[in-house]
Amino acid sequence: MPAEHLAAPQLDLDRARAREILAQALAASRADATEVTLHAVISALTRFANNAIHQNVAEEQTVLSVRALWQGRTARATTNRLDAEGISAAADRALELARLQAPDPDLLPLPEPQSYPSVARSLAATAALSPADRADFVRQMVAVAVAAGMTTAGVMANSQTAFAMANSRGLEAFHQETSAEYSVTMLAANSSGWAKGNSPDIAALDPAAGARTACEKAQASANPVEWAPGKYTVILEPAAVLDLLGFLFWDFGGLSVLDQRSCLTGRLGQQLFGANIQVTDDVSHLLQSGAPFDGEGMPRLRVPLVEDGVVKNLVYARPTAARMQREQPTAGARPTGHGFPLPNEYGEAPLNIVVAGGDVSTQEMIASTPKGILVTRLWYIREVDPYRKILTGMTRDGTFRIENGRIAGGIRNFRFNQSVIEMLQNVELLGPAVRASGEESFDMVVPPIKVRDFHFTEVTKF
């Protein structure tokens, strides 16, 4: 097929079409009250390894979800069959599942219509990226590898999503977004480097520059030496910071505290972290992404989570806020618009984390460090202890030894077992906050940080 016919498919679910389908679903429901959501996606991802494209995929999908409420009971059914039969069947299944439960005296009525902060995150240039465009970006990244005598692997992806919801009380919400992403690994003889970027706007990304960064990291970490495990001063680049913090912020959900599964249980209002730690959840931040409403259609409010190291606030879905008001009326809980679609057991979480940065560059952090370790990226992070918040994981793709204020070379990768709470007590310096993208957590706005006494417990063979 000639190249001029390879235009990217475009999402055809606009606000008017979404309203039409949602109205049809509401009309099909025989429940006392009904909430319906529609999620449409067109996405494409070009994957490369060994300096060649080896996987290259695209999909389009639209999913309708119906939540039925019936005499104090609720349940959800989801389908991607959007003909009249499919929509009715989903509505019937949701009602049938709800009927078979015991009533829940705490079940709330659906929310009334809300107003939402305006966010603009749908970019035509991102949506227009074609298979040939993605291949061009890949070619640029491969060229960097070939010029350096390295092997590269990674992805170049773009997507368009639309998310709409309505309920039988008249609430309506609609959000459209695009996303572009690259990730690149450079493999040298005995070292590697990595870089990644993600943005709603393809113009904000420079995959070839990322490839050069990854290449420089691989070169600078060649012939890694082994350092003994122990506590080190560590400079964590933003991707490493976000992958660690991603495990902490689920604990800022109000329900996790009520359930006593959060590390913040009994610690609200305490100076848990260093005085230089400020964290906000802010969907409207210019570097953030995502919809300005939650799984029940409540507006996502800006919530200061940590101020001067003190845990100030949690986030609340409507049901959690109502329960908190009953059980701890002095806590002042109110819905913040961070709930997951109901019914669920997990409640809510802040997903638009912004950690305030400082003005110290990573180079200045290195220069201020007599002996330490610079970490590009972390891998396979898991929670070892839920209350002390000890996480384990490995360094990967660019781990450097710092000696006398300079990068002295590569270092074999470490396993860490580190309490994130203690880590945030030991932050010595912060750099400018950036939109960072990792592999273990959702994207955040975070700074690079310099931390003392970061605990590496073992070392691997490369």
Partner: protein, 496 residues
């Protein structure tokens, strides 16, 4: 629609015809209809009660010696044609950045209809019966003083897949999967402890109907599990030392998954996952020569029903290759990878050993674990016999955390509970047990494994790989086993 003899054949035919007309030298189509039910309870109330269905088509093509794939849930002819055209266009773009043309190992054309064994259709069981079982467990767990959070769940899937390829295969498979489990959490003054049954992170999952739930004896074990969660608060910390570890079969199943199952994926070995899931220490030169484990270590990749109703059991993989059993480790020696039609030639094989699997209609198949299992010991040996044969050590049960480096050398696992062994007896409960090591050193230290009557085919429902990421269910047969000279307690090393 599902149930009709010609279900999906027209859709597949349209896609294949269009792809071939547009220049595809090979194409295959997978049409999947999946029904999923998730039911959970929490602290005496229903949690998630949800029913999901999805139906769609994915077409994979080779054009100019390169892959393209497109998927759609719009099943009108124009939409299917558009998806096929899109797949061809994507393949042409792939060909612009390629090194050599693809070479696929041959596969025969098959016409087959296959249903996994299922005694009780889980979707015929009303949700109120699911909730009744879970709430009875919930009540029993909450009757234990000190248990602060109780979560229980069931999960059922019925997946019908039609695979049709341009070489003439037409394979219609239906798989029914079930799972259930629960966890009791106890919050103390400064720590959170948890015990799960029959396994953590969702419980046990198999390729069975509701009969699996009936076989798990969920209620019978609830009180013990709740009491152990509370007792952990008073238990001493697992010490940091080098010594003997005995693992229960579920933890050994995860150990196999991470330190054998992933490293033997041939695409990973060849670099296909270098940017994301990582690579493998099992370079091609080690096939047939590496001493992976002790003589007692015999591991197979077995997707056949003869191996059991695992999450990795099927009749054909997602490239239309029949299910097979492949020796991976034979008497400690590394002898096999898991492969695909594209990668088989890299190890001198003329055929794929049938391990390509896709999460759903909107994902391409990747090399994935099937059932990667360690074979049980031949001499009769139970867990209590093994403990009685152990002078000192730590017995660990039920995974709590898992992590391994991106080449699969160095791992660390934490378990929910440990028991100190002295003089062949369990003498006391230990909290926060963990162990770590280097993969081959660990497997070479195995000096005992229990016999067939203590072997369980565990299901891991949440294995992640690929970009866009895919979640896959894998099976792992394992029996309790003993390992010597293992680093214990590193996760809680002083100061961490």
């Amino acid at each position: 629609m599902p149930g009709k003899d010609r279900w999906g054949r027209d859709w597949a035919g349209w896609a294949l015809d269009t792809a071939v007309q547009r220049g595809a030298s090979y194409a295959d189509v997978r049409i999947i209809s999946e029904r999923h039910r998730a039911v959970s309870t929490k602290n005496g109330k229903a949690g998630t009660v949800a029913d999901n269905e999805t139906l769609g088509l994915g077409i994979r093509v080779i054009v100019d010696g390169a892959w393209g794939f497109a998927a759609t849930d719009r099943l009108a002819r124009t939409s299917i044609d558009r998806a096929a055209v899109h797949a061809v266009a994507i393949a042409r773009a792939s060909a612009q950045v390629r090194r050599q043309p693809l070479r696929l190992a041959p596969v025969d054309a098959y016409q087959a209809v296959w249903h996994s064994p299922c005694e009780q259709d889980p979707f015929a069981i009303p949700v109120d019966r699911n909730l009744q079982v879970l709430l009875a467990v919930d009540q029993e767990l909450r009757s234990v003083s000190g248990v602060t959070l109780v979560e229980a769940e069931m999960d059922f899937r019925r997946i019908r897949q039609l695979f049709v390829s341009s070489i003439g295969s037409e394979i219609d498979q239906t798989r029914v999967l079930s799972g259930a489990g629960y966890a009791a959490t106890s919050f103390g003054e400064s720590e959170i402890q948890r015990r799960s049954y029959p396994n953590s992170f969702g419980g046990q999952f198999q390729l069975r109907g509701y009969e699996l739930i009936d076989s798990l004896r969920l209620l019978d074990n609830a009180r013990r599990v709740g009491e152990e969660a509370v007792a952990l608060h008073q238990a001493p910390q697992c010490p940091q030392l080098t010594g003997t570890v005995i693992l229960d079969s579920s933890q050994l199943g995860l150990q196999i998954h991470e330190s054998i199952g992933h490293p033997i994926e041939l695409d990973r070995v060849l670099g296909a996952e270098a940017n994301f899931a990582g690579m493998s220490f099992l370079t091609l030169d080690q096939l047939g020569s590496l001493r992976y484990g002790s003589n007692l270590v015999n591991v197979v990749a077995d997707a056949t029903l003869d191996h059991g109703p695992g999450l990795g059991t099927f009749a054909f993989d997602d490239e239309g290759v029949p299910a097979q059993r492949t020796d991976i480790i034979r008497e400690g020696r590394f002898v096999g990878y898991i492969s695909s039609r594209e990668t088989a030639h890299a190890i001198g094989q003329t055929r794929s050993n049938g391990c390509m699997r896709a999460e759903s209609w909107n994902r391409i198949p990747l090399i994935r674990m099937t059932n990667i299992s360690i074979l049980p010991g031949e001499a009769p040996l139970g867990l209590e016999d093994l403990i009685a044969d152990t002078a000192d050590g730590v017995y660990m049960e039920t995974n709590r955390s898992w992590s391994i480096d991106d080449k699969r050398y160095h791992f660390q696992f934490g378990c929910e509970a440990g028991w100190e062994i002295r003089g062949g007896k369990r003498v006391r409960l230990l909290k926060n047990p963990s162990y770590s090591g280097i993969t081959t050193e660990f497997w070479n230290s195995m000096d005992a494994i229990c016999s067939r009557d203590h072997w369980t085919l565990w299901g891991t429902p949440n294995c992640g790989k690929g970009q866009p990421q895919q979640t896959m269910g894998t099976g792992h047969g394992a029996a309790p086993a003993r390992f010597r000279n293992v680093k214990i307690g590193g996760a809680y090393a002083a100061g961490s």
